[in-house]
Amino acid sequence: MKAVVSRAGTKTGADLFIQQVSLRYGSQQVLSDISLKIAPGETLALLGANGSGKSTLLKCLVRLAVPQTGSVVIDGTDVLNCPRRQLRHARSRIGIVFQKHNLVPRVSALSNVIHGCLGKTSDPRLWAQIFTPADIRYKAMECLDAVGMSHLAGRQANRLSGGESQRVAIARALMQDPALLLADEPAASLDPGTGIDVMELFRRAFPGQGKTLVFVSHDLDHALSFSDRIVGLKDGRIIIDTPTKETGKDELARLYR
């Protein structure tokens, strides 16, 4: 990881308290009484079968899903109950990388990375890279370089492969310089080799720099190799919460039975 990360403004990771979060969609209980405390700089893997509530829990952390009860406090801000302006400020400190990377199509990789600053400023010059100030363009190029994508900076996002797109999404999160990074199955749509590369990138870019990382995965090997702690969900409840060193594949396999 190159200079861009070491020069980053946010030096430490965020601390995160999730207290008694419960969420239901209609008659379906998706999350039941979830409580978690995540320390700054910790890397947490969220595991569970399809429908166990992992992605929904991740969405609750940035208020993309709103639980009926409970609270989520990130660095002292209750993201579920704060006013919109405060929510935007809190969100600007939380990076999120999606399974399908969610890049804006038809604009360049560079523009997508520049969008990483939009949480911190509403400067209209950041909407399109042709108007963006030079220092921000250079910083975005450093972020792309850090994920090995600077040679494709001018390519439209819809012309990138899955692995390339995911790298650009990580560069966008780097540009945002978050204290907490959430990643929702970041390697799920990638081949195994590219998946490991992407997970390595995460480790170097975020926990390696003292940032807090929470990632959702179906891959037990990724969870065991890249996290400090594993939380397993089943039917919306936490049934495993253990340091990674103290668990193994056999114990984790019961999440999928």
Binding site: I96, V104, L118
Partner: protein
């Protein structure tokens, strides 16, 4: 025949699957009623307008006479007609341009995912519908009565007509944009306006360009007839020529209108093809 059914256990199920479905389902029966009703409506209209094949044949000699009188076209007033054709094009271009600009704003206000509120959405959509449902000649009469005869009234008409066309397509294009990139930017703390400019507009751009080019073609065709009610352009020249039975002159005007419409359609089609091929290449590579 069920080749796997050696015990006959599935015979009941098998009989059910080989039974043909009923000839008429409820939806199809309704469809037939609609068809018969539509046919009755067409028959009724046929009688009401005195549509007569006999009269059409009786008119053929007159049509032939007018067409023969048009040849050879009379180019003596060509400079004046050319100025009028140019004015028609200018009306169409400026009207379409202003219409597209206003449609852009109205499209944002009338798109469910971008509109600031329900009231604004309903107002914007209602205004777009009003512009679309009132025919352009009616708008032209209205504008001629309010701002006077001439190309300004025509330009306003084209503008309103373009709003009716583009406003709806722009709003729908913005509603149909993939919401996931917008969610990503929102989750990073980006404001609504930033999300709109950074994520929605670039994704909807191909649809904007397509609709805008179509609206320009439509504007050129409409602007030709607006002169008939005094809203500027070459239409008035055509009306005068026909009223004065100067068919050779009318032929020149029709020829020039044909060239103008064809030229704009060809250019617009070329631009569309060029842009779409870029888009396809981008998707394939």
């Amino acid at each position: 025949m069920n080749l796997h059914d050696s015990t006959g256990e599935h015979r009941k199920g098998l009989l059910k699957t080989t039974q043909p479905p009923p000839r008429f389902t409820r939806g199809q029966t309704l469809g037939w009623f609609v068809l018969v009703f539509a046919a009755a409506l067409i028959g009724w209209s046929w009688r009401a307008v005195d549509f007569s094949v006999y009269e059409l044949f009786r008119g053929l000699p007159d049509m032939h006479r007018i067409l023969s009188e048009m040849v050879p076209p009379d180019f003596s007033r060509l400079p004046f007609i050319l100025v009028a054709v140019l004015e028609t094009f200018q009306m169409a271009l400026l009207g379409a341009f202003l219409g597209i600009l206003i449609s852009f704003v109205l499209g944002i206000l009338g798109a469910k995912n971008l509109s600031p509120g329900r009231g604004t959405y309903v107002l914007a959509r209602s205004f777009i519908s009003l512009c679309r449902t009132v025919p352009d000649l009616v708008w032209a009469v209205f504008f001629v009565a309010s701002v006077g005869l001439g190309p300004f009234a025509g330009t306003l008409t084209i503008m309103v007509d373009t709003i009716g066309f583009c406003g709806r397509f722009f709003a729908e294009a913005m509603e149909e944009v993939d919401p996931e990139p917008q969610t990503a930017l929102k989750a990073m703390g980006a404001g609504k306006i930033s999300v709109m400019f950074a994520a929605v507009l670039p994704a909807a751009a191909p649809s904007f360009i397509n609709s805008s080019l179509f609206s320009l073609e439509k504007a050129v065709r409409s602007s030709v007839v607006l002169g008939l009610v005094g809203a500027g352009g070459v239409g008035i020249e055509l009306k005068v020529a026909m009223d004065m039975f100067s068919y050779p002159q009318a032929a020149t005007i029709i020829l020039l209108i044909f060239i103008l419409v064809l030229l704009v359609e060809r250019l617009s089609s070329l631009a569309r093809k060029k842009y779409l091929s870029q888009e396809t290449n981008a998707k394939e590579s």
